[in-house]
């Protein structure tokens, strides 16, 4: 079994690049078609900039969650984390704390949440899906408790800049963050020892342990980073909407996980590409944005989101089955 997986890993380099390229082609085609059907609203400054801003916080969370998923674990609590961060930010700002301090506290809280997930999974040995479904409700519940279920205004120069600022008056700041995070994760996953360890752990944890990798530590750091980036996403969302409300990020785990899987990351770990995730995030965000632009009800979009998740995973599984039959 292990040998087969290892063989797939070495073989994959070419094929996944192909898959990612196909995804980007689909993306361009989709963008063209949507611009045509949805004219004049879809391809306009008024739509493109909010779409990119929205996409950026999803992408930031997805990039790091890809690392966690390649190592064979998953984190469903990112949506709850975003809700809690948004509420925490709003509450702290209302207390009159300076903006930079609020940002630091929010990121620290994200780190704490990530560390808690990591401890549950690595030290106690809980199945990460179950553990993070539980913590998802805890984070959101704490968010509700903090703001007493209300949405609070969150206005502050620093917070405003995170989501709505422009660098050189042209480039939206969330996009800068998105690019930084993607470049960092790309370098880590493709050009560092640590990234190779993550791939190895996902492919075969026992073999990685026996060859001297501290599996638990790598996984723990993955969850920690995931917590921090999720709260960064929460800060961006708070800034974009200028309110902290506990419903922020609800159902986001569905979108994020499906875009990661669409990007070619496998549920059991060991396979996946950061660029693929980028393509997946772009495709799904554009699709959902287009549906909204075309005046589709939210609950229809919800149906589409669920179907996309199932269809994407089915496609992968059916492809694998056909490949096995050919061998």
């Amino acid at each position: 079994m292990a040998e087969i997986k290892a063989a797939e890993v070495s073989q994959k380099k070419k094929s996944v690049l192909n898959n990612t390229a196909i995804l980007f082609l689909i993306l361009v085609a989709m963008f063209g078609i949507f611009s045509y059907i949805g004219r004049p609203w879809f391809f306009s400054r008024l739509n493109i900039i909010p779409m990119i801003n929205n996409l950026s916080f999803i992408g930031i969370v997805a990039a790091v969650l890809t690392m966690v998923m390649i190592s064979g674990e998953i984190d469903f609590s990112v949506g709850g984390n975003i809700g809690l961060t948004a509420c925490l930010t709003a509450v702290l700002l209302e207390r009159g704390l300076p903006g930079w301090l609020v940002v630091i506290i929010a990121l620290a809280a994200g780190a704490a949440m990530g560390a808690f997930n990591g401890m549950l999974v690595t030290v106690i040995g809980v199945n990460s899906i179950m553990a993070t479904i539980g913590t998802m409700f805890i984070w959101r519940g704490i968010g509700y408790t903090l703001t007493n279920g209300e949405s609070m205004l969150a206005m502050n120069p620093v917070i405003d800049f995170i989501g709505r600022g422009f660098i050189f008056k042209v480039i939206p700041f969330p996009i800068v963050l998105l690019v930084i995070i993607f470049v960092l994760t790309y370098v880590i996953m493709n050009h560092s020892k640590w990234g190779r360890r993550i791939y190895a752990i996902g492919a075969n944890p026992l073999a990685s342990y026996l060859s001297g990798i501290n599996v638990k530590r790598v996984k723990f750091i993955g969850f920690l980073l995931c917590g921090i980036t999720a709260s960064l996403g929460g800060l961006i969302l708070t800034s974009l909407s200028a309110v902290g409300m506990p419903q922020h990020g609800q159902g986001l785990e569905l979108v994020i996980v499906s875009s990661i899987i669409l990007g070619g990351t496998v549920l059991g770990g060991g396979k996946g590409q950061i660029l693929g995730t980028l393509a997946g995030v772009l495709i799904l965000s554009i699709l959902y944005n287009f549906l909204t632009i075309m005046n589709v009800y939210y609950f229809y979009i919800q149906i589409v989101q669920g179907s996309v998740l199932i269809i994407v995973v089915s496609t992968y599984e059916i492809g694998q089955a056909m490949k096995r039959r050919r061998m």
């Binding site: 809980v126 279920g149 159902g251 899987i261």
Partner: protein, 326 residues
């Protein structure tokens, strides 16, 4: 001689399950709540506790079957909501479909959802959590088709379905749950389906090699779960007196907590309904106690999530035999 030994070992087996611990926890909790709130140990309140867990109890009956077989079902809350709102719409004044037909349609809806889940999970081979998470979103979206109708239940028979008390004390819904649990226990103990299910939960590859129709049994278990979802949906509209698209949201968290607390091992192969029943009472008593002690609404959500994490952590520690290396 052998017989005596067998009996002894069965008793020891019972002691080794988490059920005795659960009974102990419950007694302690009961005493604590009774001391903390003077409204707890009142017949009215106890009646309420038993009647309130109707929906979760019926839902956990089906999910326990799925989880013993190593599966997972997160779509229960949405499925119950769908069955509920469709039946409520069909019972509306200007449509007036006969009640038995409504029940039949509700059950068909639940079983169809279960069948779809089962086929996707077994034939396509997707992780059950991902599949049912997707189904959760899809079905909840479908529920909103009828969002603007806001149907009320005037049908007396349906109203009584979840509201009657036998002898003015014992809620009829508890009898449904007990009947369902007893029947399922007998099915698990004495039929081939039950034994196959435990084998599959214990080791799926082994079961396949032993000639068990793994896929078929698993699909049946999801259909059973869907069936109980539709019953739960009917109870929901009966107890709440109307049909709303958001009914049943978050039920999966509650049911998961109940089942894992009841000693059903995540990953399958182990579990009994007595434990699930006691866990059901425990969780409902905790919810009730939090209301009586005036714990804020949102804090209750935190407590429930924390309870799930705690229960799963204990489950992980219990099922871990060797030191975990990675």
């Amino acid at each position: 001689m052998e017989k005596v030994e067998k009996k002894y070992s069965a008793f020891m087996n019972f002691l080794r399950t988490p059920t005795p611990t659960l009974i102990g926890i419950y007694i302690v909790m009961f005493i604590l709540f009774s001391l903390a709130s003077k409204n707890f140990l009142v017949i009215q309140n106890i009646k309420g506790i038993f009647n309130n867990f109707a929906v979760y109890g019926i839902l956990s009956a089906g999910v326990t079957i799925v989880m013993i077989g190593g599966g997972f079902d997160l779509s229960i809350g949405s499925t119950a909501g769908l069955a509920g709102i469709v039946s409520a719409v069909l019972l509306m004044k200007n449509i007036e479909v006969p009640t038995p037909v409504v029940f039949l349609i509700a059950i068909v809806i639940g079983c169809t959802v279960g069948l779809i889940n089962g086929i996707i999970i077994t034939k396509v081979g997707i992780n059950p959590i991902i599949t049912t998470l997707g189904m959760l979103a899809i079905i909840r979206g479908v529920c909103y088709f009828w969002a603007d109708l806001n149907p009320r239940i005037y049908n007396v028979f349906v109203q009584n379905l979840g509201r009657i008390y036998i002898g003015n004390v014992f809620p009829i819904t508890t009898i449904y749950i007990i009947v369902a649990f007893v029947i399922l226990t007998l099915v698990l103990k004495f039929t081939r389906f039950g034994r196959d299910l435990f084998t599959i939960g214990g080791n799926e590859n082994l079961a396949r090699l032993a000639g068990i129709h793994v896929d078929r049994i698993k699909i049946i278990s999801y259909v059973i779960s869907g069936f109980f979802c539709s019953i739960a949906g009917l109870l929901l509209i009966s107890q709440l007196g109307s049909g709303r698209p958001e009914y049943g949201t978050g039920a999966e968290l509650e049911v998961l907590t109940i089942i894992v607390l009841g000693g059903v091992v995540v990953g399958g192969g182990k579990g009994n309904f007595l434990g699930v029943f006691i866990a059901l009472i425990i969780i409902q008593t905790i919810s009730n106690g939090m209301v009586l002690l005036a714990v804020p609404v949102f804090m209750r959500m935190v407590v429930k999530g924390a309870l799930l994490v705690l229960v799963i952590a204990i489950d992980a520690l219990r099922s871990r035999r060797n030191l975990q290396l990675y």
